[in-house]
Structure formats: structure tokens, C-alpha cells
């Protein structure tokens, strides 16, 4: 018998997949000279998907599809669209739109094949939007892979750039190994519980024999490995610096926001939906990993001289801050993580957009290239300063400040005092390199450099500034949505 599919529920990833196919066909038939059109088509696709997500959000209510029929025991559904899914889909699609804008800027100088680029980008976005809606391990794994594989390809797409291919290889290697580890964990979990559906997983786990608790813990840890890699948590953070520097800037943006958000979505799903019973196991682990991640990220970023590497380690540190609320027993603090994630996405993308702009004139992308930017490009410099201060969590970057306050509140209310103190110290270490970079912007530097205008990237910066300012003035939008 045919399983009924609720096409409205799966509309968003479906649209993305279709547009991806369309882009590939268009690339084949359109004359070589018009890469811009493909960008616009991709952008239209992403915006359409975003529209669908917004419509579903306005419509409200939960949509479930691909469920196990009652005759076979009922229970789990593979694809559920609820509040959590919609917020994350909205975030991913918004970030995707900005990445597309950045890509337009990147592809302008034709060294990268536009068709393949946009196709891969859309595939990654489709996988990313699918992931938050997945409610069983198989879909989760597939969605994770659909997000990861295109990104490796995107990184390696610059054919004649040795560093890009080296970065791609490193990313590929580490990702594949962690996926293997995760799959092994999933297989153990399947063995222990007999089901792949997250809802039924926790019920099954609580009824397993006490003797197997050791195995359950190991299985849980191994399963978390895959997502920890995407989020670049501590044992899995080594690749961040090299890959961000090697990859093209839009891919680095994609990695730092879209794939990280997808990773967090998977992590949250597994921890809160799949393994609420085992909170005593993964609570402390996540807390320790969060503390290590933020510290390692901040400390490594201290002595960076390359802009992208600094942003890499800064995003590792930020994912430490996002991980922290997840450690609170009882999963009440998930909304804080999601809120921080959304605000972080806006700030980080803005920073990447400006770095993209400057990297067009100074490919080496050293911090010294930003010296005296305020005198040459006041608008861009103020924007970057604003984003960095937001990332640091200092007013006038109110968005960053409120995000941190939300996270601090959940940690303190959850009783993790030591983690709060570690985070406070980390905010200070983090402030050091953010403020140092901001100071570089405003110290008097060399005279005006040629200004290469790139409209899509300027638009991306504008969008990021507007969204971040909105979050500064009314963070209530994010808090109520993720609440």
C-alpha cells in the first residue's frame, strides 16, 4: 500500500531540490555568458522556500508525514514540522539566501563553474532544511550527509587552488571518520532499542536491562560524535582553522552558519527528543565539551593574524556558548540555544560578508589589511565594527549582549554555576581579539585603496546589518519564536 505523503509539510526541501535540478538543466542550456541568471534563480528558489516556511509558521499547528501505519505497530513519524523545525528552517533559509548573495560576488570572476556551484549549494540547503524535520535516525543520517557532501565539493570547486583542495580533503577526511563513528553509535543504539524512531527510542531505552547501561552510554557518546563534528565541538574542532582559511569565503560562511545550525538541530533533536531519559549521561558531557569548546576557540583565536582563521576560531567559541544551555538537565534551556543560534547567525554572516568585501581587494586577508578601513570605507568599517562588538556581546552590539544574557540566565537558573563563570571568563578573552580587530579598523591607516564595488555582497552586508539591528532593538522576535 502506498504511504500517504503530506506534500505541504515537505514543501520547503522539495522546492529546493526541484530548483537545484532546474539550475543544473538551465546551466546546461543557457549560453556561457550569463552566470548571474543562475544566481537569481537560486535566490528565487531559496526565497520561495522561505515563503513556504513562513506560511507554515503563520498557519501554525504541527504537520506529520511518513508515519508508520497503525497496522505495523504505529508510533514514529519520520518527518514532523513543528515550531522548532520552522524556526531552524527559517534560519537556514535566511542564511542560505545571504550565502547565495555572497556566492554571486565570488562567482563574478568566473574561475568557478556557476552551475555546479549553485546546484551543490541548493542541495546542501535542501539537506539542511530536511534535518530539523527528521524524527528518525535514518533520515537524520541521510540529511546530515546531504548537507555535508555538497560542502566538500563546494570547497574543492576552485580547481586550480591547491589550498582549496587541501582544505576539502581535510574536511572530507574528518567528516567521513566522524560520520562512521556516528553510524557505529546508531547501530549500537538500534541494537539496544530495536527502533530507529526518536520518540520510541527513549521509551525503549528506559526499559533496557540495567547491565547494558555502559553500552547505552557508549552508544550515546558515539552518536553525538557526528553532530559534534558539524558543530566543531572540542575533540572535533581541529579542522576549523585550516578549512575556513582554505575554502572560498561563501563556503566558509556556509560552514560557519548553515552546517553548524544543521549540526545543532540534529544534536538538539537527539538529545531532547531521542534521549531525554539519559540526561544524566549526556548532561555533564555536553557541559564539559561546551566549556572546552569555548575556551579552546577563544584561546586559539587570541593570536590569529588572518581574518578568516580568526573568524573560524571565533565561530568555534560561539558554538561553545550555544552548546552550554543544552547541558542544563531537563532540556528547558533549548530555546536559549536556538535564540543564541539565530542571533549568532545574523552577526556571523554579516562579519563574513564584510570579510568577503575586503578579501576582494586584499586576497591575503590579514588583519593588517583592515587597518584604517574606517577612513577608506566608513560604512563597511562601521558595519564590521558593529558585528564584532555584537559577537563580543558588548553594547552597542545589544543583540550579542541579549543573546549572552539569555544563555547566562539559563545556565545560572540550571544550577551550572561553574560553567557560567567559565563562560564569563571566555567572554573577556573573546572580547580581546574582537576589540583588537575593531581598534585596527579605526586606527589611522594607509590612504584610500581602489574600491571594487560588488552589489550582491553589499546587499548581503545590508541585509545582515538590518537583521542584526532588528535583533538589537527587539530580540523579543527571536525569544518568542524559539520559546
Amino acid at each position: 500500500m502506498i504511504q500517504s505523503i503530506d506534500y505541504v509539510a515537505i514543501a520547503a526541501p522539495l522546492i529546493l531540490a526541484l530548483v537545484a535540478g532546474a539550475v543544473l538543466l538551465l546551466d546546461a542550456f543557457l549560453p556561457r555568458r550569463t552566470p548571474g541568471v543562475l544566481g537569481l534563480v537560486t535566490l528565487a528558489g531559496v526565497v520561495a522556500a522561505f515563503g513556504v516556511v513562513v506560511a507554515q509558521a503563520v498557519g501554525g499547528g504541527e504537520r506529520r508525514t511518513f508515519c508508520v501505519p497503525a497496522s505495523l505497530g504505529g508510533g514514529g513519524c519520520s518527518f514532523v514540522v513543528d515550531g522548532f523545525t520552522l524556526v531552524l528552517s527559517g534560519l537556514l533559509l535566511g542564511a542560505g539566501a545571504v550565502v547565495v548573495l555572497l556566492s554571486m560576488g565570488e562567482l563574478a570572476d568566473r574561475r568557478i563553474p556557476a552551475g555546479e556551484w549553485y546546484f551543490l549549494l541548493l542541495c546542501a540547503l535542501a539537506g539542511a532544511v530536511l534535518l530539523p524535520a527528521a524524527r528518525d535516525l535514518a533520515t537524520l543520517v541521510v540529511a546530515l550527509e546531504v548537507v555535508s557532501l555538497p560542502v566538500f565539493a563546494l570547497t574543492a570547486l576552485k580547481r586550480y587552488d591547491g589550498r582549496a583542495s587541501e582544505a576539502a580533503l581535510k574536511l572530507f577526511l574528518v567528516s567521513v571518520v566522524s560520520t562512521a563513528i556516528m553510524l557505529f553509535g546508531i547501530s549500537l543504539l538500534y541494537g539496544l532499542t530495536g527502533t530507529l524512531y526518536l520518540e520510541r527510542l527513549s521509551a525503549a531505552l528506559s526499559s533496557t536491562a540495567p547491565g547494558a547501561s555502559g553500552a547505552v552510554s557508549v552508544a550515546v557518546v558515539l552518536v553525538l560524535a557526528g553532530f559534534a563534528f558539524k558543530v566543531a565541538a572540542v575533540p572535533f574542532h581541529f579542522w576549523a582553522g585550516d578549512v575556513y582559511q582554505g575554502a572560498p569565503v561563501p563556503v566558509a560562511a556556509l560552514l560557519s552558519v548553515v552546517s553548524k545550525a544543521a549540526g545543532f538541530a540534529g544534536l538538539i533533536l537527539i538529545l531532547t527528543t531521542g534521549l531525554p531519559g539519559q540526561a544524566a549521561v549526556w548532561g555533564p558531557v555536553v557541559a564539559v565539551v561546551a566549556a572546552l569548546t569555548m575556551t579552546a576557540g577563544n584561546v586559539l583565536a587570541l593570536r590569529q593574524r588572518a581574518a578568516l582563521r580568526l573568524l573560524a576560531w571565533s565561530s568555534v567559541a560561539q558554538s561553545g556558548y550555544i552548546l552550554a544551555p543544552l547541558a542544563v538537565i531537563g532540556g528547558r534551556a533549548v530555546s536559549a540555544s536556538v535564540a543564541y543560534l539565530v542571533i549568532y547567525a545574523a552577526m556571523n554572516l554579516g562579519a563574513f560578508a564584510v570579510v568577503m568585501l575586503v578579501s576582494r581587494t586584499a586576497p591575503r586577508n590579514e588583519l593588517d589589511d583592515y587597518r584604517g578601513l574606517a577612513s577608506q570605507r566608513p560604512g563597511t568599517a562601521v558595519a564590521l565594527g558593529f558585528f564584532l562588538v555584537c559577537l563580543a556581546g558588548l553594547p552597542p552590539g545589544l543583540a550579542g549582549l541579549f543573546a549572552k544574557v539569555v544563555v547566562f540566565r539559563e545556565i545560572v537558573a540550571g544550577g551550572l554555576g561553574w560553567l557560567a563563570v567559565v563562560m564569563a571568563v571566555n567572554t573577556v578573552i573573546g572580547l580581546y581579539y574582537y576589540i583588537a580587530w575593531t581598534a585596527q579598523l579605526f586606527t589611522p591607516g594607509p590612504a584610500g585603496v581602489s574600491r571594487t564595488r560588488s552589489v550582491p555582497v553589499m546587499v548581503a552586508v545590508g541585509v545582515a546589518v538590518l537583521v542584526t539591528l532588528a535583533f538589537c532593538v527587539a530580540p523579543q522576535l527571536v525569544l518568542s519564536a524559539s520559546g
Binding site: 508508520v68 505495523l72 505497530g73 535516525l137 535514518a138 543520517v141 541521510v142 550527509e145 557532501l149 566538500f152 565539493a153 574543492a156 580547481r159 586550480y160 587552488d161 591547491g162 589550498r163 583542495s165 587541501e166 582544505a167 576539502a168 580533503l169 581535510k170 572530507f172 577526511l173 567521513v176 571518520v177 560520520t179 562512521a180 553510524l183 557505529f184 546508531i186 547501530s187 549500537l188 538500534y190 541494537g191 530495536g194 527502533t195 530507529l196 582553522g241 585550516d242 578549512v243 582559511q245 582554505g246 587570541l302 593570536r303 593574524r305 588572518a306 582563521r309 591575503r364 590579514e366 588583519l367 593588517d368 580581546y432 581579539y433 583588537a436 581598534a439 585596527q440 586606527t443
Partner: protein, 139 residues
């Protein structure tokens, strides 16, 4: 046959795969060991599916997916290895060190304000102000 035997075999297979990834320098051989790890997972899944007599055969379905994923990964992995080879003439992983951490990717112009990496001024051994050490009253 008790379920623990195939699980042990799968665990051993996984360990061999891990050893292969760590020990071998050639990228292609590393890819092969990763395949080995994925197949260990498949074995595990199939064994559990049979052992649990799962009506939905979740294990076998997931095995199929894993096989597809493995294939995709290998395809992509080899493509990346190819481009690495074309650019670097080598696919020894531990010789690809171009993206390592170093202080300054290129010897930039000496920083006029003598601050060097920003760090030295704030927390360097010289301390904040050169005159600070002889701050005590002479007379």
C-alpha cells in the same frame, strides 16, 4: 549463534578501519579504510535487524542507506584526491601542510607602531608602559 559474535567481528572490523585511517599516509588507502568502517556498521545493523526480528526491518533499510552514502562518499573522496594530486603532485596526507598555523602568512611590513602582533603590547613581558617599572620614587 549468539549475537555477540558478529558484533565482536564488526567491532574488530571497525578497529581495523580506524587503524587504516590513522596509519596509512596515502589518501586512497585512507578512503578504503573508511569504507571498511562503514561496512562494519552495515554488518552490525544487519545482525541486529535479524536478532531483533524487526518487522519494519529498520536495520536493513538503514544498511541500504549507508551503502549509498558510502558510495557517494567514495566518489566524492576520489574526486577531491584527484584535484589534490593535480595541484600538489602528491596525495600523502601528512605532507599537505600548507594551511598550518603560522604567525604571519607572509612577512608583512614591520608594524610602524612597533606593536607587532597586538598581543605583545597588552600582555607582553615589557608590561604596559616602558616607564612603569622605574615608577618608584627616586629621592
Amino acid at each position: 549463534m549468539h549475537v555477540v559474535y558478529p558484533v565482536i567481528v564488526s567491532a574488530l572490523l571497525f578497529s581495523i578501519g580506524v587503524y587504516g585511517v590513522l596509519a596509512r599516509r596515502n589518501a586512497i588507502l585512507v578512503l578504503m579504510s573508511v569504507e571498511l568502517m562503514l561496512n562494519a556498521v552495515n554488518l552490525n545493523l544487519v545482525v541486529f535487524d535479524i536478532w531483533l526480528r524487526d518487522q519494519l526491518h529498520g536495520g536493513q533499510v538503514l544498511t541500504l542507506f549507508v551503502i549509498v552514502i558510502a558510495a557517494a562518499e567514495v566518489g566524492l573522496g576520489l574526486a577531491i584526491v584527484l584535484s589534490v594530486f593535480r595541484n600538489r603532485r602528491t596525495i600523502d596526507i601528512d605532507r599537505l601542510r600548507d594551511l598550518a598555523e603560522r604567525d604571519l602568512t607572509s612577512p608583512g611590513p614591520a608594524d610602524p607602531t612597533g606593536s607587532g602582533p597586538i598581543v605583545s603590547t597588552a600582555f607582553g613581558p615589557t608590561g604596559p608602559a616602558p616607564g612603569s617599572t622605574d615608577r618608584s620614587e627616586a629621592g
